[in-house]
């Protein structure tokens, strides 16, 4: 969607001929006071803590080169109406600063400071022609806000969205590792808040893991889960039952005191689950389950001192 909007912005006539006329007048004032306006803008930027940090990363020669480039581009844009390079440059810079983590609000500081500095000189230069000033101010605001800030904002949105997407992917991959601890024993450490999407994924991965690793026992560790509500608890219960259908017993470990109290208060019945306080005792418990199974198989093989075990 932002893609089509960008094309529209370039393709359409950005400024009417009257506005372009006004911008030419503006350039005269801007050009003749360039250093002062630049200084005022920089002073405002220095006062902003976030901007100061970013500016500190740039070398003076780099800054000077950037300023010179944008000055030439701006001149071409305001005098001849060639806005394309200016907009492209703004987008590149916007994306760059967004990636550096500069808050979008900081751009308002810069733009309003520039606006204030220009306005002062403008009113001074054209003080006898109020209608002219009006036209210039309108065109200037369009340049500063509708074009500059809007382009930067767009780029910020793109960058943020991209970042969020990346992080979501990362979280997805990291969220539910199924770790084979030893033959027949799987560990599923759950860290962070469990929402319905994660719960579904967790179950899927665990059940697939049981099949691929031929697990007989599973330890689900909830030490890293800050809150367990009834939905999550019920989902866990279903997961444990599904694991049982695949022939694996599950042990739940690391339910915090708060979570235990919450579950008791909301009346979730977890009596069907094997639970232990921490991961260590959970692994012990699971190993015991495995050993019992193994011992029975061995004793069954040599046919000594075994009793029928119908329910496992």
């Amino acid at each position: 969607m932002s893609q089509t909007k960008q094309i529209d912005l370039v393709a359409s006539q950005l400024f009417t001929s009257e506005e372009q006329e006004a911008l030419r007048d503006l350039w005269v004032v801007y050009e003749s006071n360039f250093d002062e306006i630049q200084a005022a803008t920089m002073a405002a930027a220095e006062a902003d803590p976030d901007l100061k940090k970013v500016l500190a990363q740039l070398t003076p020669s780099q800054m000077e080169a950037d300023q010179l480039k944008s000055r030439r581009q701006l001149q071409r844009a305001m005098q001849e109406g060639d806005w394309q390079p200016v907009i492209e440059d703004i987008r590149v810079q916007g994306g760059h600063y967004a990636q550096m983590g500069l808050p979008f609000a900081s751009w308002f500081v810069v733009v309003t400071a520039a606006q204030k500095a220009i306005l002062e000189r403008l009113f001074h230069a054209y003080r006898k022609e109020p209608t002219r000033i009006q036209a210039i101010v309108l065109a200037m605001n369009k340049w500063l806000f509708d074009i500059t800030l809007a382009s930067i904002g767009e780029k910020y949105m793109d960058t943020r969205e991209h970042l969020i997407k990346q992080q979501q992917e990362a979280i997805k991959e990291l969220s539910t590792p199924v770790l084979p601890l030893r033959a027949g024993l799987l560990l599923l450490p759950v860290i962070g808040v469990i929402d319905s999407e994660r719960a579904r994924q967790l179950t899927e991965q665990l059940l697939e893991g049981i099949r691929t690793h031929r697990a007989k026992a599973v330890v689900i560790d909830l030490t890293g889960v800050p809150a367990v509500d009834s939905a999550v608890a019920n989902h866990l219960l279903l997961t444990v039952r599904a694991a049982k259908l695949l022939g694996a017993n599950a042990v739940i470990t690391g339910i915090s005191t708060e979570n235990a109290q919450t579950l008791t208060r909301i009346g979730v019945d977890l009596s069907g689950l094997v639970t232990t306080s921490d991961l260590q005792s959970g692994v012990d418990e699971a190993e015991w389950l495995l050993q019992v199974a193994r011992a029975h198989r061995e004793s069954g093989a040599d046919g000594l001192q075994a009793r029928p075990i119908v329910d496992r």
Partner: protein, 124 residues
């Protein structure tokens, strides 16, 4: 289509290859119980790895089979439930209570070995 029932030593193996009609399912239940009696089998293994879905009737029948063959003196194990089928089942509240389950035929054979170990020990 009737479900093939294979005899393997003291055990019977019934392998459900594709979705069954309710009638087929009931026939399967009867045939298994009959075969247990005829062969004096000690355990029955029901392989459901071919099923993409296990509905309430199928689940109920699996439970019935377990109870029926138990009355006839044999243990029963259901094997090969697919992971996604397992989760769909528990979501529907079909927990197969009282039914022994194992991952696949291999594990199922090991499990019935354990379940019937005592009988062998007593020399039956």
């Amino acid at each position: 289509m009737p479900v093939p029932i294979l005899k393997q030593g003291d055990y019977l193996i019934g392998s459900i290859q594709s979705a069954l009609t309710d009638t087929d399912m009931i026939d399967f239940r009867g045939a298994l119980a009959d075969q247990v009696g005829k062969n004096r089998s000690r355990a029955v293994i029901i392989d459901v790895s071919g099923l993409d879905i296990i509905d309430s009737f199928t689940a109920r029948t699996l439970q019935d089979i377990t109870h029926t063959v138990k009355l006839k003196g044999a243990a029963a194990v259901v094997v090969g439930i697919q992971p996604q089928v397992a989760f769909a089942m528990v979501q529907l509240g079909l927990y197969l209570d009282g039914v022994a389950t194992a991952l696949d035929l291999d594990e199922g054979l090991a499990l019935v070995g354990r379940m019937t170990a005592g009988w062998r020990a007593r020399g039956q």
